[in-house]
């Protein structure tokens, strides 16, 4: 595409005015979005006296990490005073397998639905898509019964199963739409070379899928890590994920509201998704649009 600045008739003055308008708008939006994060971050670095004395938007006098330490390892959640750490680990133990398993299953089913088109593939795909639109609340009761029946109620294993199943609809959609733009001839060539369904998948399709794997991992990780309702419904006590623990930490404060600890805890709980997004984010947009344009 041609650089708009070099096009004939793009006069300097009007161009600058237009730019100025866009920049102002973007700046305002950025301030609006970053404001709350600033407040949370600066409050988490103050002590209680400073919070009470100062204004909300003031910078902290010094970098004081006491509240972070407390939120991580000694804040009381219910009767246990071990901070967020055990629950954070619960979330890690829950998220990693859920993300890996649902991404792998999504890749496999997306591959089967797009490159090994069988009779009824479209109907099955449409039915799987329904899964993307089912609200969490609808499945809570039957899911609780099922988990009880399987003997994995109130356990991290139960949450892994729930999140994996719930994620398959989305991951299948991602991978299926990515693979429809892969030429069918590739599969035919590999078939002639003697590779079967799984070897084509493993040797050829998976190495091609890095962008969409990143999308699937970010999406699933964000969903599973941030999820609250299933965690609150299907677990209690020691098996709870960090989102539920965060809620309990803030709600179970009895005397003085420790704003700095609450803010630090919120940031700790949110950190992993931020980190994943920052590391893999540049692949995210690329991967999301990868299947959209053919050729």
């Amino acid at each position: 595409m041609a650089d708009p600045k070099t096009l004939p008739g793009a006069s300097g003055k009007r161009y600058l005015l237009g730019r100025l308008f866009i920049w102002t708008l973007l700046l305002a939006a950025a301030v609006l979005y970053l404001g709350p994060i600033y407040v949370v971050l600066s409050t988490s670095l103050k002590d209680l006296a400073e919070i009470r004395a100062g204004a909300l938007l003031d910078l902290p006098h010094e970098l004081n990490f006491t509240a972070w330490r407390e939120a991580w390892s000694s804040a009381c959640i219910g009767v246990r005073c071990e901070g967020l750490r055990p629950y954070f680990l619960n979330s890690v133990i829950m998220s990693v397998p859920s993300v890996v398993i649902s991404t792998l299953i999504g890749a496999l089913s997306g591959y089967a639905l797009s490159l090994f088109r069988f009779r009824g593939a479209n109907i099955i795909f449409a039915l799987m898509l329904f899964g993307c639109f089912i609200p969490f609340q609808i499945v809570i009761l039957p899911m609780a019964q099922t988990l009880g029946f399987l003997g994995i109620a109130n356990s991290i294993t139960g949450l892994i199963v729930v999140h994996t199943i719930y994620g398959i609809s989305f991951t299948t959609l991602f991978f299926r739409n990515y693979y429809v733009s892969v030429p069918q001839e590739l599969v035919r060539a590999a078939t002639m070379d003697g590779a079967g369904f799984f070897r084509i998948f493993w040797h050829i399709m998976l190495p091609l899928s890095v962008p969409i794997i990143v999308v699937s991992v970010i999406w699933q990780f964000t969903q599973v890590w941030n999820e609250f309702l299933f965690g609150a419904s299907f677990t209690s006590g020691g098996a709870q994920p960090v989102t539920v623990a965060l809620n309990n930490l803030i709600n179970s404060t009895t005397s003085v509201k420790q704003y700095n600890v609450d803010m630090a805890a919120a940031l700790i709980a949110a950190a992993p998704t931020l980190v994943v997004y920052i590391i893999a984010g540049r692949f995210f947009v690329r991967g999301l649009t990868a299947g959209a344009v053919k050729g």
Binding site: L186, A189, A190
Partner: protein
């Protein structure tokens, strides 16, 4: 030894029949070209031989053995695809070796086989690259290498040259022909390009609407086309078709060719050679098929060759020849003359008509009658 024999094969996709009762034999070491426009079923037929499409009815045999239910990988067939279908994540070396890898051939043997094929195709310096770093012609060579390395008994080509530019296409065409002469393997080649078909084939099978119209050597197809479709498809510019009356004059059977001279209609009687044996059809309408080179300048023609004089509307010089646009029986027709003898556009010119080589078709069935 590798023969292919297809008997009464048919295939439908939904309600459309793509192959209708196809029977075809390919001899050992033969180069057979399946020629036809898109949608005629030629690629489907190739996929059936490869085993990539199941056959609905009929039988397919390789070396006399029925392989209807044999998996593609067990048919000992290699295939070169139109898009090359190279594995984008693998280096050229691994692309070529992949088929051997899947057949659990040892690493050392694979390496040796790849080297050999690479040197044959002159792509040794590309072995470490990925397909994205190759030009179209190089990708084409790698795709050939992938087929060659397994030393299969049958090679299938699905329009392998259609993504190359004209010059490269010509070069690769020659290489494929050389390859066939060296390997003496059975090859089936699908194309819609009649020049490719004519230059490469031992025999050509022309297909239309899922039916084989004619099978024969390129020369047979060109000089004795079975019907008007074949006659029109092969040859560039295509054969001229003129509707004419078959009559007898002075005890000689011939056709009345309506031409235009100085703006006025003028009919010429052109006697047919006795070998055409069309007496029973006297006084009926038939279709006369004249290839452009059969209507040519009169300078060196033998005295007994029939001549016509007619108006030339415009000229299309191609360098070696000049094409003259005429009007025969109210339809445009092309004559091929040497540039040395071409008249000016708008003038009239005397042409000799080679009645020994003309084709005559039935007006109804469009089949060749003489």
């Amino acid at each position: 030894m590798a023969t292919i024999s297809i008997e009464h094969a048919s295939k439908s996709f939904g309600s459309t029949e793509v192959l209708k009762d196809i029977s075809l034999d390919v001899k050992d070491g033969e180069f057979l070209v399946l020629l036809g426009s898109s949608g005629c079923g030629k690629s489907t037929l190739l996929n059936i031989i490869a085993g990539l499409e199941p056959i609905a009815d009929g039988e397919i045999r390789l070396d006399g053995e029925v392989v209807n239910d044999v998996h593609p990988k067990n048919r000992d067939i290699a295939m070169v695809f139109q898009s090359y279908a190279l594995y984008p994540n693998m280096t050229v070396e691994r692309n070529i070796a992949f088929g051997l890898e899947m057949r659990r051939i040892s690493k050392a043997e694979r390496k040796a086989a790849v080297r050999e094929v690479a040197s044959m195709l002159q792509i040794e310096h590309l072995l470490a690259r990925k397909p994205a770093q190759l030009s179209g012609g190089q990708r084409q060579r790698v795709a050939m290498g992938r087929a060659l390395v397994r030393r299969p008994k049958i090679f299938l080509f699905d329009e392998p040259l259609s993504n190359l530019d004209a010059k490269l296409r010509g070069e690769m065409r020659t290489e494929i022909k050389k390859l066939h002469q060296t390997l003496k393997a059975t090859m089936v080649y699908v194309t819609h390009d009649q020049i490719e078909a004519m230059t490469l084939a031992d025999r050509i099978a022309i297909m239309k609407d899922g039916i084989i119209q004619q099978i024969g050597t390129p020369q047979e197809i060109y000089s004795k086309p079975a019907n008007m479709y074949v006659a029109g498809f092969v040859g560039a510019p295509p054969m001229n078709f003129v509707k004419v009356d078959l009559v007898k004059q002075d005890d000689q059977l011939g056709v009345i060719l309506p031409a235009v001279l100085k703006g006025e209609p003028k009919d010429y009687f052109l006697p047919l050679p006795a070998s055409k044996q069309l007496e029973p059809r006297e006084n009926t309408k038939v279709i006369l098929g004249l290839r452009p080179e059969m209507i040519t300048h009169n300078a060196f023609a033998a005295p007994n060759i029939p001549q016509i004089e007619c108006d030339v509307e415009l000229l299309e010089p191609t360098g070696a020849d000049t094409l003259c646009l005429l009007h025969l029986s109210g339809h445009p027709a092309k004559a091929r003359v040497s540039p040395l003898f071409a008249c000016n556009p708008g003038e009239s010119m005397v042409f000799s008509v080679d009645m020994e080589r003309v084709c005559l078709f039935d007006g109804e069935s469009e089949a060749l009658i003489g």
